[in-house]
Assembly symmetry: C2
């Protein structure tokens, strides 16, 4: 089902400062920036590697406000790892397969993700405490 680790999502208070940290420390570069109002985040994708059906990225996410999910995460847990996303070739098919195993879906239908991707989140309580995302890259559609 999984083609790659698509990205790790990292919550931060200050997107520009964290981008600068990653660029200067690791030499990674930003390949996309977006504001996702639906998810309440401002984000940047930093390229790590190419992969099957899409690439691997570090996704830095800054909440648009304290009452967003990521804003609440930061208040409770501080900056750090927020979620992991796996690349799939067919996000709808993967959701159907996963739901059949009894894992609850946060998104029963895919929604808009970074760089034109289709994404869906699974419920962390059913995946060992890990907020898990599926990503179908735009070029794989």
């Amino acid at each position: 089902m999984f083609l790659r680790i698509d990205h790790v999502g990292i919550a931060c208070h200050d997107l520009e400062k964290t981008i600068a940290l990653y660029e200067s420390t690791f030499g990674v570069t930003v390949v996309a920036r977006e504001v996702n109002e639906e998810q309440g985040v401002r984000e940047a994708m930093l390229h790590v590697a190419d992969g099957e059906g899409g690439g691997s990225y570090i996704q830095l996410i800054e909440p648009l406000g304290p009452d967003t999910p990521v804003g609440k995460f930061l208040a409770k847990r501080g900056e750090g790892l927020h979620h992991v996303a796996y690349g799939v070739s067919d996000v709808r098919g993967a959701l159907t397969e996963i739901a059949a195993t009894g894992v609850r879906l946060i998104d029963k239908n895919p929604r808009h993700g970074s760089m034109g991707s289709s994404i869906a989140f699974l419920h962390p309580k059913d995946v060992g405490g890990v907020l898990t995302e599926l990503v179908q890259a735009r070029q794989a559609e």
Copy 2:
């Protein structure tokens, strides 16, 4: 510097139960199991994808006891994402480059990681709250 996302490290209370969850939900399979006394963990690597210089994995880690770093992590934060590891071709060279930027190293010298790899951790306080690991796969040495 980074060749790939080598793995995400996920802390769990019960390794066998969590392996079974990942296998049945996502169809991933265990390719290595180890006890790492130095790090105080029992672990399993589940294969996600092949990549440059090594693969991408889900690393499930169960603490050997409550007084280990992962045992303390579980007591404080519960099960979930623990660290992220990036593949590099030369872990010693990468440590030198990173230390020069002012980021503190947990490991000034590489130590033994999963599947014969050489690894080193960076201090999370200097990497936006993320426990960050570098991995040089055995075959890249």
